[in-house]
Amino acid sequence: MFAGFGGQGVVTAGYITGQAAAIYDDKESTLTRVYGPEARGSACYSGVVVDEKEIDYPYLLSPEIMVVMSQEAYEKFLPQLLDGGMLVIDSSIVKPDEQAEKYKLFTVPATQIAEEMGARVVANVVILGFVGKIWDGVSIKGLQESIKVTVPKRHLDLNLRAFERGTELAEKALKKES
């Protein structure tokens, strides 16, 4: 699950992930989205289900990994996360509380990194790189291919660099863990 507020690209992140799984990893996947009537600003999420065989229920029931990019989304959606599931938060925006202790918590200062790279809008792609590394539902190669056909050509390089930064951070985090 990619949760945040409208305008952060949580649906795009989900789309890139679902497409990577379905087209480039040749699995089955579905993408659904949940949001309010406002185009911008309200808590929303996109949910990706990945499976080897045809998917019976396209919606997320209890996700095994959840990305949270806003405090409101954190409070609203966190209880849905599977106990012991992976929780990835954009630590430049979200402050976790004691609820997070139930999960395997990863912190990524994605928005800050994206700002340093000159474009706040690629925060979702930094996170995608991170997710690709820590979650086996989708491959790094698949995600890269999916990014290539989804983002506008003039922004491709920036997006691929942002993705790279995400994977590097994940490697570090995983090293620390082991």
Partner: protein, 383 residues
């Protein structure tokens, strides 16, 4: 510039799959009005038609949209519109004109919560009976309901084929869930896709009667500008297309308009049956609910319950022969749907005297889960 048929694998939202399915089917006229949750279809068509040569018009309302589609179809174009509940309601009068004039058109209804403005961004299946009976009068219509982006793509093509073959408005009765969820869609090579074109007159213009049916009850269709100088009207008419407002003419015409569909039930009706061979309980579902229903049947089987699944792909005309047949075998029909009982009534009617029926109603807003359906199957199995 992209081609009309995008052969290959794609990750598409249901709404995009519908737009691409229409393009593959040969749709080159689209008239519509923005409405949630259907707008992506119009948006996608507006981007694609200039690439492949098609007419896209965003009209002032749904009344104009459907009227323009009828006109475009009479000029020979395969025509489509997409809408949701409120817009679908506005279109009803001219759906009747399409039935009466026998015009092939395809209307996509991406269902949302209703009545009235209801739940614009959330799903439902509340327009099932409206699809059958929404326009005034006694008529038959065809409606198909997809459960995934791939099926939305496939069924959009089939909608066009049925519209062309039977000269009738065909409705793709989809929903927000299918429209706004993405999945893998495989587009076959162009030459592997079967397309049907309307029957054209084989007689010279002076012998042509626009409403004289063939054996199959379907009259060949001349189009505007082809030299046939035909006239057509929403009034009750004779084979010449001339108004004939007598009880006799009405009896003859309305019977034929219904019979041309009823007589071809087996060609039009499409269902998917799973685990039905030894089933005591049949879960009858359609559209988005078919996916959790199938899963629930699987869960029940694991529990040793003899459950099976009947998925209705064709909603209208109703698969009465299918339900009638299984009613002799099963004890229960379980019907989960996102309304307060619509297809349930049809199932109950066909099962009467043979099997019992149970409705699992949800008013919409979110899709029913496999567990919720499974629980009801279990309860029924313990009775």
């Amino acid at each position: 510039m992209r081609k009309a048929v995008l052969t290959g694998k794609h990750f598409w939202y249901g709404n995009i799959a519908i737009a691409e399915g229409a393009i593959v089917a040969g749709c080159r006229f689209f008239a519509g009005y923005p409405i949630t949750p259907a707008s992506e279809i119009a948006e996608h068509i507006s981007r694609r038609f200039p690439e492949i040569g098609g007419t896209f018009v965003q009209f002032e309302d749904e009344l104009a949209s459907i009227a323009a589609m009828l006109g475009a179809s009479w000029a020979g174009a395969k025509s489509m519109t997409s809408t949701s509940g409120p817009g679908f309601s506005l279109m009803q009068e001219n759906i009747g004109l399409g039935v009466m004039m026998e015009v092939p058109i395809v209307i996509v209804n991406v269902q949302r919560g209703a009545p009235s403005t209801g739940l614009p961004t959330l799903t439902a299946q509340g327009d099932v009976m409206q699809t059958k009976w929404g326009s005034h009068g006694s008529y038959e219509i065809i409606a198909l309901s997809p459960d995934s982006p791939q099926e939305a793509f496939n069924l959009t093509i089939r909608c066009f084929n049925l519209a062309e073959k039977y000269r009738v408005p065909v409705i793709l009765l989809t929903s927000e869930t299918v429209g706004h969820s993405a999945g893998k869609v495989v587009v076959p090579p162009k030459d592997k896709i079967e397309l049907v074109q309307r029957k054209k007159p084989k007689v010279p213009p002076e012998d042509y009667l626009p409403y004289k049916p063939d054996e199959d009850l379907i009259p060949p269709m001349a189009c505007a500008g082809e030299g046939y100088a035909f006239t057509t009207t929403g009034l009750t008419h004779d084979e010449k297309g001339y108004p004939d407002t007598t009880a006799e003419a009405h009896e003859k015409l309305v019977r034929r308009l219904n019979d041309k569909i009823r007589r071809h039930l087996k060609d039009i009706v499409d269902v998917e049956e799973e685990n039905m061979e030894d089933a005591d309980i049949a879960v009858v579902s359609y559209g988005q609910v078919s996916r959790p229903a199938r899963k629930a049947v699987g869960m029940a089987r694991e529990d040793g319950i003899k459950a099976g699944s009947i998925k209705l792909i064709t909603i209208w005309p109703f698969a009465e022969h299918v339900i009638h047949r299984w009613a002799k075998q099963v004890e229960y029909f379980v019907v989960p749907e996102l309304n307060y009982g619509q297809i349930y009534l049809e199932v109950k009617r066909e099962a009467a005297g043979e099997a019992k029926s149970l409705l699992i109603p949800r008013m919409g807003g979110k899709l029913i889960t496999p567990t919720e359906i499974y629980r009801e199957i279990k309860k029924v199995s313990e009775k």
